[in-house]
C-alpha cells in the first residue's frame, strides 16, 4: 500500500515538528503548549515509523511503544502540575508564572 517515498514522510515529520515547536514558542496557554509538545513527540514517532518501514528494521516501531507511554506519563504529570498551579494562581498563562526570576 506504501507509495510515497521516505523523504516525503520525513518532510511531513519535520513540518509537524516545526509546527509543534512554533506552537510552544508563540502560545501562552500552558495547556496548548503541552499539546504542541505532544505534536513534537508525534513528529518524532512518525519519523521513526517511516524509517522503520523503509529500513526494514523493527527497532523504530518498538520504540514508538515506549514513546507513547512516556508521552502519556508526561502528560499525566504535567496536567497534575498545571492543575495544582491553577489552584494556586487561577491561571494557565505562562506569562503569569514568573514568581521565580532574576
Amino acid at each position: 500500500m506504501i507509495t510515497a517515498g521516505l523523504n516525503e514522510y520525513l518532510i511531513i515529520s519535520a513540518v509537524l515538528f516545526c509546527i509543534g515547536f512554533l506552537g510552544v514558542l508563540v502560545r501562552r496557554n500552558t495547556l496548548v503548549i503541552f499539546m504542541c509538545l505532544e505534536l513534537m513527540l508525534i513528529a518524532g514517532t512518525l519519523a521513526l515509523v517511516a524509517f522503520s518501514r523503509f529500513n526494514g528494521t523493527m527497532d523504530g516501531n518498538v520504540f514508538v511503544f515506549f514513546i507513547l507511554t512516556v508521552a502519556a506519563a508526561e502528560v499525566a504529570v504535567g496536567l497534575a502540575i498545571i492543575v495544582a498551579l491553577f489552584r494556586k494562581r487561577h491561571t494557565v498563562q505562562v506569562d503569569e508564572f514568573n514568581s521565580l526570576k532574576h
Binding site: I11, L16, V26, A76, V83
Partner: protein
C-alpha cells in the same frame, strides 16, 4: 492511489496541527490535536504500522486528548485570552516562524535520502507477533523500566493532586 492518500493525510495532518497552534480556543485546539492524530494514524497505516496506528488512536486520542479536554473543562480557562499578542511577541513569533521555515528549507534541500523501493523492503511493522517477541526478549528491560516510570508518574500525580491529611491546600 497511495500517493493521493498520502497527500490527503499529510495535508490533513499539517492543517490540523497548524490548527492546534493557531486556534485561540483551547478546546478547539485540543480537537485539532485529535484530528491531527487521526491524520498521523493514517500515515502510520500507510507505513504498514497498523498496530501503532491503532495504539496511537487508543492512547492519544482515547486517553491523552481526553485528559486534555477534561482538564480544560475542569479549569474552565477559555476566554482568558486577554494577555497574549503584544508587539514583541508577534515579532518574536514571526522571527521564529522564519527561522523554522529556513531550517525546514535546508532540511528539505539537503536531507534527502536514497531509499530502495519500499516493496523491496519487508514491512516489519505489519506483523503483530514481531512486536511481542521484541518486547519480551530484546526490550524486556525497557518494558520493566516503563513499569517503574508509570508507577513514578502515578505516584507523582497522586502526590500532586490527592487531598492529604493535614494538608489543606486542596479543598
Amino acid at each position: 492511489m497511495g500517493q493521493i492518500l498520502f497527500t490527503c493525510f499529510a495535508a490533513f495532518t499539517v492543517v490540523c496541527a497548524a490548527g492546534v497552534v493557531f486556534n485561540k480556543n483551547a478546546v478547539n485546539a485540543a480537537m485539532c490535536l485529535l484530528l491531527a492524530l487521526v491524520g498521523v494514524a493514517g500515515l502510520f497505516v500507510q507505513l504498514d504500522a497498523y498496530l501503532l496506528a491503532f495504539l496511537l488512536l487508543l492512547v492519544y486520542a482515547g486517553a491523552v486528548v481526553a485528559l486534555f479536554l477534561f482538564i480544560i473543562m475542569l479549569l474552565d480557562v477559555k476566554g482568558r485570552h486577554a494577555v497574549g499578542f503584544n508587539k514583541v511577541a508577534v515579532f518574536a513569533g514571526l522571527a521564529a516562524f522564519a527561522l523554522l521555515l529556513t531550517g525546514l528549507g535546508t532540511f528539505v534541500a539537503r536531507g534527502q535520502l536514497d531509499t530502495p523501493h519500499p516493496s523491496n523492503v519487508p514491512a516489519v511493522g505489519a506483523d503483530l507477533k514481531d512486536y511481542a517477541i521484541q518486547l519480551f526478549t530484546t526490550y524486556l528491560l525497557p518494558v520493566q523500566i516503563m513499569g517503574f516510570l508509570l508507577l513514578a508518574a502515578m505516584i507523582g500525580v497522586i502526590v500532586l493532586s490527592k487531598r492529604w491529611e493535614g494538608l489543606d491546600d486542596i479543598k
